[in-house]
Symmetry: D4
Subunit: 217 residues, 8 copies
Amino acid sequence: MKDVVFDYDRAERIGLPEAVFCQGKARATVLDLLQQFARGNGHPVLFTRLDADVVADLPDAVRDGIDYHPLSRTAWGERMPAQAAGRRVAVVSAGTADGAVAWEAARTLTYLGIRNTVIEDCGVAGLWRLLERVEEINEHDVVIVVAGLDAALASVMGGLTAKPVLAVPTSVGYGMAGQGEAALRSMLVSCAPGVPVLNIDNGYGAACAAVRILGLS
Amino acid sequence: MKDVVFDYDRAERIGLPEAVFCQGKARATVLDLLQQFARGNGHPVLFTRLDADVVADLPDAVRDGIDYHPLSRTAWGERMPAQAAGRRVAVVSAGTADGAVAWEAARTLTYLGIRNTVIEDCGVAGLWRLLERVEEINEHDVVIVVAGLDAALASVMGGLTAKPVLAVPTSVGYGMAGQGEAALRSMLVSCAPGVPVLNIDNGYGAACAAVRILGLS
Amino acid sequence: MKDVVFDYDRAERIGLPEAVFCQGKARATVLDLLQQFARGNGHPVLFTRLDADVVADLPDAVRDGIDYHPLSRTAWGERMPAQAAGRRVAVVSAGTADGAVAWEAARTLTYLGIRNTVIEDCGVAGLWRLLERVEEINEHDVVIVVAGLDAALASVMGGLTAKPVLAVPTSVGYGMAGQGEAALRSMLVSCAPGVPVLNIDNGYGAACAAVRILGLS
Amino acid sequence: MKDVVFDYDRAERIGLPEAVFCQGKARATVLDLLQQFARGNGHPVLFTRLDADVVADLPDAVRDGIDYHPLSRTAWGERMPAQAAGRRVAVVSAGTADGAVAWEAARTLTYLGIRNTVIEDCGVAGLWRLLERVEEINEHDVVIVVAGLDAALASVMGGLTAKPVLAVPTSVGYGMAGQGEAALRSMLVSCAPGVPVLNIDNGYGAACAAVRILGLS
Amino acid sequence: MKDVVFDYDRAERIGLPEAVFCQGKARATVLDLLQQFARGNGHPVLFTRLDADVVADLPDAVRDGIDYHPLSRTAWGERMPAQAAGRRVAVVSAGTADGAVAWEAARTLTYLGIRNTVIEDCGVAGLWRLLERVEEINEHDVVIVVAGLDAALASVMGGLTAKPVLAVPTSVGYGMAGQGEAALRSMLVSCAPGVPVLNIDNGYGAACAAVRILGLS
Amino acid sequence: MKDVVFDYDRAERIGLPEAVFCQGKARATVLDLLQQFARGNGHPVLFTRLDADVVADLPDAVRDGIDYHPLSRTAWGERMPAQAAGRRVAVVSAGTADGAVAWEAARTLTYLGIRNTVIEDCGVAGLWRLLERVEEINEHDVVIVVAGLDAALASVMGGLTAKPVLAVPTSVGYGMAGQGEAALRSMLVSCAPGVPVLNIDNGYGAACAAVRILGLS
Amino acid sequence: MKDVVFDYDRAERIGLPEAVFCQGKARATVLDLLQQFARGNGHPVLFTRLDADVVADLPDAVRDGIDYHPLSRTAWGERMPAQAAGRRVAVVSAGTADGAVAWEAARTLTYLGIRNTVIEDCGVAGLWRLLERVEEINEHDVVIVVAGLDAALASVMGGLTAKPVLAVPTSVGYGMAGQGEAALRSMLVSCAPGVPVLNIDNGYGAACAAVRILGLS
Amino acid sequence: MKDVVFDYDRAERIGLPEAVFCQGKARATVLDLLQQFARGNGHPVLFTRLDADVVADLPDAVRDGIDYHPLSRTAWGERMPAQAAGRRVAVVSAGTADGAVAWEAARTLTYLGIRNTVIEDCGVAGLWRLLERVEEINEHDVVIVVAGLDAALASVMGGLTAKPVLAVPTSVGYGMAGQGEAALRSMLVSCAPGVPVLNIDNGYGAACAAVRILGLS
């Protein structure tokens, strides 16, 4: 198998390090990629949507060199990008079922050297759970809202903070939830102004957007 | 034109008086129906989706005998169904643009002899507007929630009351609001349990469902 | 694994006990939750969409303490919420394939202490099967209609009773049934007035809506 | 303008006379076609979806030679196809709003020399209206069912007759009725077996299908 | 397990014998049903969408008493409905991939005692294959057209015969074929008049519709 | 109003002259553009989707200098691109209602100096109309197929010629025709191999694709 | 008519001044609102989607006090929010047809006191037009990309800048453009990382999101 | 099993050799077909969508006689169609995930005797990767563009070449990528003129279309 040629140029040009999206790739291909990076070439790489059972198949030596996080299905090696300064991001999610996406965002931020707090179980059907945390959330510089089903959290959050809010719909739910389409539509037409939206389940993308924003200062 | 044959039997059997849905009917047909009822046949009838300019075309004598409400586009004559007892319904809406649907529900309730309160501008992007009214809302027996866009109000309301909640999505919005489809999906997958949903813009139907519920006691 | 933090506050506030939706959760997570509740913490919990083969994996001692019902995929322990008084709910379904949803509704009602009758095989293509049961159905206080395919039962039932009717579309069918979308649309635009609709396959939600309604009297 | 070249060959080959679908054609084109046929060329032609205000613009001499029916928007001249023998078709519709489609089917049948009965207002929310007419309906050889909204009539009718049933969804309704898509889906997944479906509002097509069937004997 | 209660009444009333749709039913349920019928109760039953590996699990004695056809996934026992007289149906399909649906129609007809001919590989991209068979097809009384992808065969066939044509879209294809939605839409808006359509893959339904038609004479 | 800055560079680079798509532009803007080009700047321009009543509003002197074609809604001035050599394109359409799109393609080809033949009324429901013209069609170098409804013509044509075929779906039809979506899907999944598809009603695009192809030789 | 009660609280809390969305509101209502604000109440207000012919109906005195911009359909009075400091936003659009949305964003920014540059006609089919402006664009702090059709500009732009990028799909196009759905989907699945998306045509929302971002520093 | 009857006539008539689409066919059927062709009948055949594990099940003698390519899932035997002359096709793809489709196109071209170059990883988020290869691409006679997600490559490529461009959307992506629907819509409404589109993942079809085009000279 030929070595993968990564787009390090773009990474440098737009300030976002290289990432490998593992979902949909053949198991053999992913295993091969992980071992190439274990052999090292000087560039840090983030792996996303990496299943635990693929990691389990790695040789011990390789697996030990990787920081793998099962819930978010993300991994990286020892080499990480340079640390960013003091900005902080809050990742606020509606329910525990949104955890995989919330943590994909959080782990991507951590990998990129940005401090972050994950604040879970803030679904609006139990409004006080969110209200108790608003002050804490507003101490962060960017707020990533992660929610499935009706995604009502995005609108409520958008009305409670002046900070940049990034909305990530999740594919949580059944029937008319439509693999996240209800949440996506809900966020796109949110009654709170100025809340842009990422693709369904795209925690990685939200973290990248936060990095662009934090690069401002 | 032949006289319309109404389904008075069903009305008696299921407790909901006859109604005429005017939208989509030819102007001449609607004018004719209004005059038939002005001549009277002993049965009360509710007209919904009746445009103001149709009413303006009626002979003065007929128009004077009709109680017409332009925002809700509803009308009735002097004969009304018997008054229901003391139950009360709250109609809670998200924004002024939802007014036509909220008032269609309210007027239908009034016509059916049920006391009701319309509580507008409770959209969740300005959460305190809703929170200030929760106690008042909970003094009613049934809550009808009317909202377009992301319809997040249904979920928040559903978490703040133990009363029966009926959710009505509205066609307010543009782009991915999709003539109410975003609101409908949002309400159907609401994170608040036990909140059933009516068709888009169906204020009349919500009032009928409330009547069925109030008939219980 | 951290203990789950349930939203007992909301349960108390809106009168609906806590439930765990197991579908889509990792097998290990569900097994862990079941054992936490077996150890007991004083609060009753309802499990929905719980697969039989997960239950089969429980230690004997735990499994013996659970009331599990395979068709509806629901379970509860010994602790149940306080019994509600004499109101009764009829759960009427179109075909045997709708059984899982009908029984999810019925079991949830039983768990909540509400008497209920499941009346199956009332599909309107064999109209007399329904007509023979109408009188019996009308002796209940709320009617839950469960149907897939064309969901015509909701309209017919809505015209035969003055009681509150809650319609639950099911994902039964193939081709243009669209995993329940045909049934959902059909119920939302039903020619019978005042029949609100739950999400596809949401028997649990219908039971909760019934509890809200029965709380009235 | 060049004269239109009709496909009389096909008409002969498959036994269905030529028809002109006027909707979507420019007003000038339709007026021109009507006058060509008034001048006569020996072939009978049926005009469908022909608006009354176009007919009003015809010269008196032309208009007087045309049999125009405003509700169904159909017209023909003096020349009609040869009369078919004794077979009869019942056109059963759910509500008055379905009238345009029901009468398009009926008028097409009349034009083709087939006796037919239009039986309106049989919507299943008032079931007895249909049940009272079942015996009469079953005296016909083919049943065309015309219904919008949930189109539940197709399933109920399909369970009450052994005759060929042709289902025509109509674009009646708003919101999730989706210009007839709810009715179409409902009919396609009907719980009554052997009920094929035409395109939305296609009364003309149902009549043609009936002609094919009646040609059998 | 309780015995299934079949709707023999409807079967008699509308002339279509009882059928069991096995798809989506639990394996244990289907096995149980097959053995009930092997024990016999005097009524003939048709099984559709019955997978070969379920049949393989039956006790030998039961399996030997069943006429099973793997491609169409249909089965019946020794008892069959009374034979219908001389009418014949042609089942014309576009490609070999449509075979499962074409043979479901053909087998259902055979079970109902109606003679039929399956004519395969008539896709219109190789037009002469169809043209060579047109005369033969026209010797039948009803034509069932089975096609996936663009389903162009329905329009071409509809223009080559005056016989009743029933169109069945199949879920053959990928991408924008959309599990048969392209074929369904294509057939519904066919440029050939009078061609009604069944649900996607519904070969059984087409056979039932043919039975209704043939019952005429 | 500022003068429009056209992308003459691209025109030269990819060999397709500049075009102005008028639909959706304000009437005043289009009138202004037409007069700018009448004043002349040495570059030829093609106007598409230009309504006749806009042309009627032009000063006589401007209108006389324009070659306008109402059916295709295209126009150009005296300056035209250099003539292409002897290649020829056949534009084959299904029905007269497809004329506007077929002629948009033909006129664009004429403007670009390419000889073309429009062959109309070849819908496959009257198959012999197409079969009579196949030989003539095959004398052309590229075939553009224009069809709405089921667009079956694309598959049939694709099986009758080895020439490059470009398929253009049209928005002709009602109900499930879906403004051309049925035709588009049908063409994309055509059973004839190697037939690429343009956007709905995009006769201009098909002509441009033909120009790219003819540029080969 | 009762005076409108604006949500000035929210405006203060989240830093976004009050705006009136005029589209879909009755002409009389909008005229009334404009005159209320002309009478003044100390709060600045932005009007969006305000049609020129409504403005033309205002009394001269009112109209003269309003800064109206026809292309963007925005208006404000003399009172404007306090000026923001030196940050700058680039609004980059694909074609002239996207102008209304691009200028709605630009005008909203101007109203909010933020400097901005509109850079039009950067569609990627003529790539050099964009490449010539990249350096200039990168001198801004936030980039708003406005594009319809395939919205490819969002991906290309996202790969050419490290700045925060906000993508706004427009409803420009016909056929499968689907009133902006093609552009929206394209932007949501962009191959450039970290580019969040607003609702179709929502230039106002993009400006609000930029304000949130610029509030950071 | 009966021998398959291939449509060799069509192959000759339209110049495209016979192909077997294996996806969706039963494993046993495909194995049988492969062995029939190994026994030989003088006609070359191309197998597409053929899974590696099916090939692994072939007897050694058969497998050795087949040229199988796992990434593209294509195979052929020793007999190949006659070689075409010097024309060349470039297959340009956006990312490595598009490889299966790009190579299906390339392998089909090779099978048909047409020289081709596969140029991968040209996604527009890293624009320079494409720009560096434009000159090379323009040395080919036809360009096939293969891209998923936003498919922006089709528009950019269409603006950089005057050659015939064929666009193939792929099902790469998640969420709103919708199994390739975002890419398909994007390509159909491309801002580059004259770029026709194949079905999602249809690399084979693009190669066939190229063959039709190259047959011109």
